[in-house]
Amino acid sequence: MTTSAAEITSNGLWKNNVALVQLLGLCPLLAVTSSTINGIGLGLATMITLILSNSLVSMIRNIVRPEVRLPVFVLIIASVVTIIELSMQAWFYDLYLVLGIFIPLIVTNCSIIARAEGFASRNTIALSALDGFMMGLGFLIVLTLLGLIREVVGSGTILANADLMFGPAAALLKITLNPEYGGFLVAILPPGAFFGLALLIVGKNLIESRIMAPVVPPSAEPVLTT
């Protein structure tokens, strides 16, 4: 099975988007996106994990016997996530505290093992890395958008706590839209994540049915659900 780079890009960002179409990795997606920075932080961590795990799995795809492939993939993913977790603890300690348990939980993110099994184990290293990057970027974009929506509606700010990620100077990035806005708490609370994600999916489907019509049925690609 060979795939072109353009196809990988369109699959990752739009046609087979991890969050909007495959609906994988929803628990971190719903749990941490209460602000834009949290969304970007977890999105970046997931993207790096996807790139590294896809490349590693692709490297060993001809060595591992099919009977033991899943435990091996999980081991690789867990090692990569541990590296990322330790690095975040070292360099982005405050963000690490905010994201908390959701960093180690990237291991259980279904999209990562789905890409390892469905793509990286049958494609070359370069293509697998690209696939990891594009899938991760698609996830990152959705996390950022959802975080942005929830932060604007829920507390009326944009990019609050940017200093957690980009250093103290970035605290200036915070935009307060209306200082008197009391905040619509439901957007920050868990239900807001469901409403926000549902609205994003509605938006994607609307764009597909109204603007990009006629719709071509997406190419069948094996998707693991765990």
Binding site: G182, G183, F184, L185, V186, A187, L189, F195
Partner: protein
Amino acid sequence: MSVISSPYISPSASTNRMMLNVLIALVPGTLAYIWYFGYGLIINLIVAISFAILFEAGVLLLRKKPLMPYLSDYSAIVTGWLFALCIPMHSPWWLIVTGIGFAMIAGKHLYGGLGFNPFNPAMVGYVVILISFPKDMTTWFLPMQVSSDSLSLMESLSFTLGLLEPQHWDALTSATPLDQYKTGLGMNLMISEIRQSPVFGDFAGVGWEWIANWWFLGGVFLLYSKTIRWHIPLAMISGLLLFSLIFYVVDPDSVASPGFHLFSGGLMLGAFFIATDPVTSATTIKGRLLYGFLIGALVIVIRRWGGYPDGVAFAVLLANMAVPLIDYYTQPRVFGVNPPQDH
């Protein structure tokens, strides 16, 4: 004169006849509410009902449905009216619009409109603003019989328009009796000490207990006109009384009496007007008893252990969620099918 053929009995239980009965039954309690708490409720009612109709019409237009058949079934008015009764007096207009918008759009039409909504729309709207705007949703005004001063219609209107903020009117605002009871227990006060506050009357709060009596009267009219059946209100009230009685008998010093629970908060209104919503409640006889009992028990659980002073809205939504399951397990046996085994 036109000749009509048989049958000559016209169906009496149309949607708009039922909704009209509900509106008639709401009148005495609403008048009592205004008597005790002032003009604020009239303004709340006007804002909530007109925006309920506006949102209903707007979504119907978006869904390309005919306006008149849906608007003339009064269901939007009932939702707006019940919603206005739940929220505090003198709420700012944007609070009412947000809540009723959520009720009509997310609670009702996103599920397919009247008849398809699994959750009571008025309660959905109320709960959304209750958890979103805790400060505005817990500022209640004292009954006029207790407070030293009463507000004119113009003053009430300026609260709604956001020109005045109720939080600054300390002399007129107070926690509800249920809220005082919860806070007092949190401070390790005894029931007898909590009841020293002037907002408490014979059973529950001054004003509140009489309003509850008028809701009961409206409920009797609903029963008499066969708009609702007795199972849900009776089961809900018995569930509440039973659970509160158990706790009260064990520890009467730190648990409010069953009478207090019965006449406080939204219990009476909920038992006759909200839990009995034919769309979102259970449909079988046994199911209705179970559903009502579940709400009554949950109200006590939430009032005692929950984070909010009153739990009727949450209890109704939780029970709504259980309705498909309740209906599934309480299906009556169809006559002649699977006869019971004789031994």
